[in-house]
Amino acid sequence: MKKTRLLIIVLIFIPTLWYGCTKTDDGSYTAPITVNEKVNGTWNMFSIKMIDETAKSAAIKPDEVNLTDQFNFLGFAITLNVDEANKATTYAVTGEAPQLLAPQGFWALDTDFPSTDGTPVKINLYSDAAKTQKTNQVSITTMPGALPEMELKLTHSSNQVAYVSYLYKLVLATTK
């Protein structure tokens, strides 16, 4: 009886001893994923709505209108290109929708990594390769993650007061 018990104990501990002898493989160093990696690619229109910021701040309804079925917005797509080093290069808007954004040019993020305080990362659009002539700025209000979806917000201001925003909900069209 005593012998049997000892055998069982030995059998249980054998694998533990084995594991303890193995060297842990921590892998090689990998750079953190940047926003550029997340947002590059071609994004197709899922929906767009116009938000009346004046009405919204005054709690007046309606404060938004869905434009998805209007003005050929369903055919809208935007492609954000990166180079081998994942640096932002050119962008292009395709489709027949009215040009809320300049149809093509260069893009850059205002930061490489998402902020910790929740401030949305912004995409600046430029007409020149040197990225000095800014044409538009959109906020990434929903960052692509597990789902290949992204939400961009274009805000129109007059005298520094935001009065209208356009909220683009986009889905990734191509695999990276």
Partner: protein
């Protein structure tokens, strides 16, 4: 005070006391006048429906009236011919009179009286109805109401008289009208009685009665006026008034039949509240009339665009691309006009524009 009470009592009870020996024929089932509203110096027809009384169809019926005066006094047992009613049909009798003449009283005296108190009777006074009072529809408040038109009674029916009163003083173009005519239809112009000014009998039929002081009146029984077939359900009357031979018209007016829900007033709204040439303008109009189709014209700088609203009677929308049409212009405003399919202007005004930073 006592005297007044006493005189009212006498007014009401007098016929009971005098003719209590007559057989009671019952209550007058229904009374109405045509026109519904009238000045007391105008001719009017009073209608009495004697259904449910012991009066026989086509029987000779006489009026015995003692207020505001008693024209046939002393003739209870042998009513005068002038007090005789005309049988219309379906147990309805008619009495035509011009109150000031019949009662030999002025308008003011009639107004100050206790009203029209009467019985209906046979010629010899063996049979009498209960005491009745011909209702007077008071329209004195209309003159100062600020309304261009009103109608009486408020509960009107296809087969009953309806009076529409019009205050031409409120429509500047109508103040010097020689004649005013009604151009009208039932149920959104389903059955029309147009003002066909080249047909003399239609000119006469559609002409409003001049009541003086800029007030005009149209008296109709909708079924006969429009020629509505049996079984027709009237839910509304559309009309407008026309000056002379179409020299000018009022806006379109509508009156709704009793129990027909009155649609909400149209609501026109613009989205967003602040806008630039780099945005989209969305115009919404709720509660349109049946068949109403709206179009817009937007003028900015030297460019004009037009388009149609889409949607239903309940809500129609126009989505206007300002970026594509005016995006490159530096302009302070847009001029907008909205019209319907009858070229009626729904809106005309400017849309101010801000500049995007």
């Amino acid at each position: 005070m006592k005297k007044i009470t006493y005189s009212i009592l006498v007014t009401l009870l007098f016929p009971f006391a005098a003719f209590s020996q007559a057989q009671e024929a019952g209550d007058i089932y229904k009374m109405y006048s045509n026109p519904v509203i009238y000045n007391f110096d105008e001719q009017v027809s009073w209608y009495f429906n004697l259904s449910g009384t012991t009066f026989a169809e086509t029987e000779d019926v006489y009026i015995w009236i003692w207020s505001p005066s008693e024209p046939d006094a002393g003739n209870w047992e042998n009513s005068s011919d002038f007090a005789k009613l005309t049988y219309v049909g379906n147990m309805v009798w008619r009495f035509d009179l011009t109150p000031t003449t019949y009662f030999n009283k002025t308008i003011a005296e009639i107004k100050a009286s206790a009203g029209f108190w009467l019985r209906l009777k046979d010629k010899t006074g063996t049979k009498q109805s209960s005491v009745a009072n011909v209702p007077i529809t008071d329209f004195s408040a209309f003159a100062t109401s600020g309304k261009p038109f009103d109608y009486y009674p408020t509960k009107f029916y296809l087969d009953d008289p309806l009076s529409i009163i019009f205050n031409a003083n409120l429509i500047p173009a109508f103040t010097d009208a020689a004649t005013i005519h009604m151009h009208a239809g039932l149920n959104n112009w389903d059955i029309k009685q147009e003002y066909q000014s080249w047909l003399p009998e239609i000119v006469a039929k559609t002409q409003l009665v001049n009541m003086g002081g800029g007030f005009y009146r149209m008296d109709i029984v909708p079924r006969t006026y429009f020629g509505a077939p049996e079984g027709y359900v009237m839910s509304l009357i559309n009309f407008l008034f026309v000056k002379d031979n179409w020299a000018s018209t009022t806006p379109d007016y509508v009156i709704y039949a009793p129990d027909v829900p009155i649609p909400a007033d149209p609501i026109l709204s613009f989205f967003p509240m602040t806008i630039s040439v780099k945005d989209f303008l969305v115009i919404t109009r709720q509660h349109n009339t049946v068949g109403q189709k709206l179009t817009y014209t937007v003028k900015g700088g030297d460019k004009t665009i037009t388009g149609a609203f889409t949607g239903s009677m309940d809500s129609q929308k126009a989505y206007i691309d300002l970026i594509g049409n005016f995006g490159s212009m530096d302009i302070p405003k847009l001029a907008l006009t909205i019209t319907d399919q009858k070229a009626k202007v729904i809106f005309q005004g400017d849309i101010p524009l801000v500049k995007v930073d």
